[in-house]
Point group: C2
Chain length 223, copies 2
Amino acid sequence: MRLSELSDRGGVSVATVKYYLREGLLPAGTPVTARQSAYGEEHLRRLRLVRALLTVGGMTIQQARDVLAVADDPASGRHERVSVAAYMLGPRISPPQTSDPERADWDEVFAEMRDLLAEMGWRVSDGAPALTALTRAVVTLRALGYRGGVDHIRRYAEVMHPIAAEEYAVMEEYPVVEEAIEAAVAYTMLYEPILLALRRLAHEDVSARLHDTAPPDPPLSSS
Amino acid sequence: MRLSELSDRGGVSVATVKYYLREGLLPAGTPVTARQSAYGEEHLRRLRLVRALLTVGGMTIQQARDVLAVADDPASGRHERVSVAAYMLGPRISPPQTSDPERADWDEVFAEMRDLLAEMGWRVSDGAPALTALTRAVVTLRALGYRGGVDHIRRYAEVMHPIAAEEYAVMEEYPVVEEAIEAAVAYTMLYEPILLALRRLAHEDVSARLHDTAPPDPPLSSS
């Protein structure tokens, strides 16, 4: 196909396709004439993956290159290829410096969370960015004086695991690894706001049932 | 108690307490001398609520004032008082303008989501900001060519409802309405990153089990 068709089917502008080509994120097509190249289905697959990494995943060009390098490395397995992409998704949170007074709390919470997941039999890396994100959230919760006990966290973990397993099964339906990585990035990111919105709507429903009242009118000012 | 003790117990600086007093978010104390006032437990409760609205909830001063006005209005019921605060929580998303070409898709998705929740028996307002957020997320998902069918959304709704009900029960443990509002804001916001981090960790675990591999080393570059 021509570059214009590739752009159409990939859902990005011609200028964007050219930009990805220049940045080496998309391999060159096969030259047909001095000014035209032909592109195949593998270019389309790669284009969709790059779009997912950059626009949905919010990655930098360099992070996308790192993901593609692992995806293209014949030595890496499927789990590694998909996980590396997941590890690049934001928000990226850093632990406090060792000199930071908060660091003692941090280390304590980090160990608690790691032990909780280990006790549940979860196989996750100590370096998983999501473990850092979890630690950050629990440290904040407790610093503000709210309940963030291990039993509460365990309950959420128990609820999220089956849904994550179902989601993962969807990703496994893509035999081509590039498509699986694209699916992992897209579904991880795009379902996050869906999950959070449904939780808030469920709160509203629970409150309305409990107090047997009609849904409130939306507030008028500040909207 | 003195202002310094109020600041200590409320977990905010003296300057911040003074700022809240100036903005009328916190009622004045009882004058003791020309330069000192005494504050009671009701000031501490209000201070904690204001802190939750502004720092955890990310509200503007005006939004916090609106929430407090409803909280203080003897005519409003508990459901309304708590829901108004929930409605002010970000991110606030606006539907596309009626002239926007995306608007037809938007209206279709909005109707689908509203009908889905109605079919499930959820009592939520058409004006709920979370319904707008849900619509936005599903429109984006579909525009990019990913699956966002009603059956997928229903599954997430079914998973989130019981956990939302448990969370709501925690809020109901606070008999004083100000504390319930504070709890609603704090737990809604602060557990969101926990939920999302656990989902990502669960993906990693599912992948590791399925491919029977050790967790990956964290990526070295771009970190």
